[in-house]
Symmetry: C2
Subunit: 130 residues, 2 copies
């Protein structure tokens, strides 16, 4: 199963997204939170993201979902740090919460990395209000 890492400036957001994803896709055991700084403050930390990626990977690669632009920068640093790990890591260009829920459902169905990223990114276009 493809792993997922939720990268947010807020630890509460990252943990909350994992909680919600586990409710929507209970079969998904490869989703990890990487939110905030070590001391709980707002920010993103490449080392925390790196550790979450290593935990989320079960051999099928890991998709990252990020909240804001600077989270992407930290995610890219984490990917560089894992360059020699052999883990296939990609960033979905998707809304954090909406993309993560869709990705968690897709991953629990055994979808490929490409399918998961496509589904997560398509949530950009999904209306919420009828």
């Amino acid at each position: 199963m493809v792993g997922l890492v939720i990268v947010s400036h807020s630890n509460k957001i990252a943990e909350g997204v994992v909680d919600l994803a586990k409710q929507v896709a209970p079969a998904n055991e490869g989703i990890r939170a990487a939110g905030g700084l070590e001391d709980g403050e707002i920010g993103t930390d490449p080392t925390r993201i790196m550790a979450a990626i290593e935990e989320a990977d079960s051999g099928d690669g890991v998709v990252l979902l990020c909240d804001l632009g600077s989270a992407i920068m930290s995610a890219e640093t984490a990917i560089e740090l894992l360059e020699d790990s052999g883990i296939n890591i990609r960033i979905a260009d998707a809304p954090l919460v909406e993309g993560a829920i869709m990705a968690a459902v897709q991953a629990s169905m055994g979808s490929s990395m490409d399918e998961i990223i496509k589904a997560a990114e398509e949530t950009r276009q999904m209306p919420k209000v009828n």
Copy 2:
């Protein structure tokens, strides 16, 4: 200043979005969390949303940001419950975290409800990855 309410199935997500918005837009004091159920479980509760709207309103109306479809339903129920309150309440059809941060910045600049909703909804189209 237009108020904001963050409606999420997860209390952690809603509180985390408020924390992050306050960091990005410190002047914004009209943002409130309405996440999860009374007992902390995953879900949305029209009564909690209603209370948050009343707290967020300072006379200029309140914009709601919601995570998933059923959050919108609870938000609509809360709006019905407040029908006689005279509070101008609208739902932004925007990604939760990204839309909320943009809305918080706009609201703290004194933007109108229309401007805030437009800016929040435009985050759907904003690429994160270069």
